[in-house]
């Protein structure tokens, strides 16, 4: 079997062309999902019998928390791809995804804290899931700081890739912290294998919101990566042509 198609994926020029075709579709999909999910979740979903309307924050909190973790997994995968196949694009993806992941972790922590006050009676609790999410935020900061500290781009790329792979050992701890330690935070809202405990009117909009967040993440990542690719390749002919056709 030929592996050349795989290497084509790593070409910045090819990425720039294909992403400009993808971008409108991703934008339409994610904005549509976001609109549907927000209206459905915040207006039409029934009130929770215990928590009243305050439960509605899960429509932001849960997608952000899911994304915060899968974004870190993506960093590690990009790190492996970058180290093994020496693809420049994998490093661009790693560099551009790290700040988005950090933002998602912050959003998850912040919304959780707002929700915690009326429900648990406290903004912050040293509970396993909360603390491990905070650690995830520090991991993101560490990767971003390492990238900023090393001036040589190739060295920085390899070093952050190694760091992303090493840090991945903390992800299962975050993921299963709720199952392993019986603490304040409730178990995972969504599992693929089991039927959700919520009624469909409540979890369907949540599912839509999760898809919307993944869409927005892809959109944001593609836009950041396109900018970074142009910045790195600004001396090549195709990048100049792309820049000139835009202005």
């Amino acid at each position: 079997m030929s592996w050349t198609f795989f290497h084509k994926l790593g070409s910045p020029k090819w990425f720039y062309e294909i992403s400009s075709k993808l971008l409108p579709w991703v934008a339409v999909f994610s904005l549509l999902m976001l609109a549907v999910g927000l209206v459905w979740g915040l207006v039409f979903a029934p009130e929770d019998y215990q928590q009243g309307n305050s439960f509605r924050i899960i429509y932001i909190h849960v997608p952000a928390a899911i994304l915060a973790q899968s974004c870190y997994m993506m960093l590690a995968v990009a790190g492996v791809v970058g180290l093994v196949w020496r693809m420049k694009l994998a490093d661009v993806a790693l560099q551009c995804a790290a700040p988005i992941g950090a933002w998602m972790t912050l959003v998850a922590l912040f919304t959780g804290s707002i929700w915690g006050k009326p429900t648990w009676g406290t903004y912050w609790e040293w509970d396993a899931r909360l603390t491990s999410m905070l650690i995830l935020l520090f991991l993101y900061f560490g990767i971003m700081a390492l990238r900023m500290a090393i001036s040589n781009r190739d060295t920085a790329a390899k070093a952050t890739a190694v760091m992303a792979i090493v840090g991945v050992i903390n992800i299962p701890i975050i993921k299963y912290s709720v199952d392993w330690w019986n603490t304040l935070h409730q178990p995972a809202t969504f599992t693929i294998t089991e039927k959700p405990a919520m009624p469909p009117e409540m979890w369907m909009p949540l599912l839509v919101m999760v898809l919307a967040f993944y869409g927005l993440f892809t959109l944001n990542l593609l836009m950041r990566m396109r900018l970074e690719v142009l910045r790195r390749e600004h001396k090549t002919r195709w990048a100049r042509a792309a820049l000139e056709s835009n202005t």
């Binding site: 700081a145 090393i150 060295t155 903390n170």
Partner: protein
Amino acid sequence: MRSVIWQLLQREWQLSWRRPGDVLNPLVFFAMVITLFPLAVGPEPQMLQRMASGVIWVAALLATLLSLDGLFRSDFEDGSLEQWVLSPHPLTLLVLVKVLHHWLMCGVLLVLLTPLLGTMLALPWSVIPVLCVTLLLGTAVLSLLGAIGAALTVGLKGGGSMLLALLILPLYIPVLILGTGTMDAALQGLPVQGYLLWMSCLAVLALSLSPLAIAAGLRIGVSE
């Protein structure tokens, strides 16, 4: 191969004897941080006993972290690191010997100091052996994980000790939680075997996987 390991250990041993300050500084730091706590929170034995294991663990963690910053620096500066990378012997093995020496010079000496500081913090004699065993296993993990960060930051100008802390402290947290959990169980008279097995599990995992990451980090640092 065996002679290479032996020679490397001898070299490291001689180097640390020539500069005893590098060995003593983490120990003095460890003792001083622990001394600060009774001064800061008050000398009541009950409160000290309650905090003792946490204070000792955090102090051990910081002392290891500080001593790790220079782990590869002098070898990097005088070029011996490049010779390691170019040498026919596997780099993973060489770094493992280096980290082993660091653990002997830092972790094991901290553990030797612990019974004294533990009794000063009003820990009962019955839990001191447990504390020493967990610290012995834990500091090995701390040295191994920390060496990854030291390898990644070795090429940075102006010292990367702050960055090293930022990179490595999140990875230290599982060790800290397990270590203090063991002590809590021991203080309440509960069985600690399960905790000790988990600590050993972490140590074996770090021993087998982190040399790969350390070697990769050093290759990146040297290639710059």
